[in-house]
């Protein structure tokens, strides 16, 4: 069964949380969680990279049938512990849609750098750690990508309560 082309954000987050993975949500899903009326095709997370975390992440990714995307003939690769322990950005497809695991952001910050700039959001039984709005705005401003520029003004409006 082919994987969905867009992420079921809630399902992916619940799978990761239920597996005991420590991570910070960044990217478009973080904007959504903060209240931005955007859509995003994938979930971006920055995971903690302790030995235990990496193994837990590998196991849950296996359960999610994670593969590097796009899957092409002769290229059907599952992420390994070495990938998860590295510094790369892993663009994966899963049975709940696209999941990007950012071992480091484009500015080289990882989980340990970002956790102080995040906050835990609780909604019922869902408890996720999300990059804070100021840091998300700064990240989006620093990428120089058109799609990020579009969302920065919206995030500022959210932050300023407009």
């Amino acid at each position: 069964m082919p994987h969905p082309r867009t992420a079921d954000l809630e399902a992916l987050l619940r799978a990761l949380v239920d597996a005991g993975i420590a991570f910070v949500v960044v990217g478009g899903a973080a904007a959504v969680i903060h209240g931005a009326p955007t859509s995003t095709q994938d979930l971006d997370i920055v995971p903690r990279q302790s030995t235990g975390d990496i193994e837990r992440l590998r196991v849950v990714l296996e359960q999610l049938e994670a593969r590097f995307r796009p899957i092409l003939p002769g290229r059907d690769l599952a992420p390994t512990v070495a990938h998860l322990a590295g510094t790369g950005q892993l663009n994966l497809t899963t049975r709940f849609g696209p999941l990007d695991i950012l071992c480091r952001l484009h500015d080289s910050r990882g989980y340990d750098d970002l956790v102080a700039h995040s906050r835990e959001i609780v909604d019922g039984d869902l408890r996720v750690r999300v990059i804070d709005l100021d840091t998300l705005i700064a990240i989006k401003e620093s990428t120089g990508r058109a799609k990020d520029e579009i969302i920065v003004s919206l995030l500022r409006a959210l932050r300023d309560g407009r």
Partner: protein, 60 residues
């Protein structure tokens, strides 16, 4: 309230082909939602847009 608009951006050469769409008219609506409701709405919206994109590309 800002002008209602849906904006799509896609950067040429971006290795991550994900688009972002912003509908400013929904700002107040999203604010009133719970986090889980926002996640569900964003996922639904993305899936709908993807279906429309694929349908449009097949029509060309």
């Amino acid at each position: 309230m800002p002008y209602t608009s849906v904006v799509t951006a896609r950067d040429p050469g971006d290795p991550d082909p994900a688009n972002v769409e912003v509908d400013l008219s929904l700002l107040e609506e999203y604010r009133a939602m719970t986090v889980v409701e926002r996640l569900r709405a964003a996922s639904r919206h993305a899936a709908t847009l993807e279906r429309l994109r694929r349908a449009a590309s097949q029509d060309r």
